[in-house]
Symmetry: none
Subunit: 116 residues, 2 copies
């Protein structure tokens, strides 16, 4: 979020800018805008506040990366499998890790702690 007193050096998008960016991402399907797209988007968003091309560039990169991040989004809820979800659930790209046997995984954690 953007503090009122922005003494920061990094870009701080306004709510409108975020809204538009997300709209472009979700509804527009934009993932990796090219140079001219970035330029146009930047020009448009600058109507709502200071912004540069690199901000747009990074925003899409980060958004896409975190959208499908194996961390935080997929690592989390292990199986909320079938629960009356009529639609297509998010891609189960679960970082399929070894099923640890009830006897096997504890030692693995020990290894994690003390190095292997």
């Amino acid at each position: 979020m953007c503090p009122a007193s922005n003494s920061s050096t990094r870009w701080c998008p306004t709510p409108e800018q975020v809204m538009i960016l997300e709209e472009m991402y979700t509804r527009g399907g934009i993932r990796t805008p090219n140079a001219s797209q970035i330029q146009q988007i930047t020009a448009y968003l600058s109507l709502y506040g200071k912004i540069e091309g690199k901000n747009v560039f990074y925003w899409f990169q980060n958004h896409k990366a975190r959208d499908r991040q194996k961390l935080r989004k997929l690592l989390n809820h292990h199986h909320h499998h079938l629960l009356s979800y009529p639609d297509s659930r998010p891609p189960p790209v679960l970082p399929q890790v070894s099923h640890y046997s009830s006897v096997g995984f504890l030692p693995q954690v020990i290894d994690l702690i003390y190095g292997k």
Copy 2:
């Protein structure tokens, strides 16, 4: 501390979880666990209380970052004149484009948003 009955929004690690995490950090040397490590750690720590993968992820990120931060300030205190600003890096790789016509670009952005 963690309240027994938490209506909290954010993760509140139990003392055991913190202890184990710090053990992994210091003795195990774990700094940035990968996806499968995070999974295993999460599974193990869930024996001591509710926890998700992202909590583990963030815990290590923060712990490492604050270690660096501490070290940085320490170094800064000793020779603060030598410490460089974080922004002394090469300019971001920017798809720099020239110019857009002030009349023509807005409709194009609309197209970008809603598809063309």
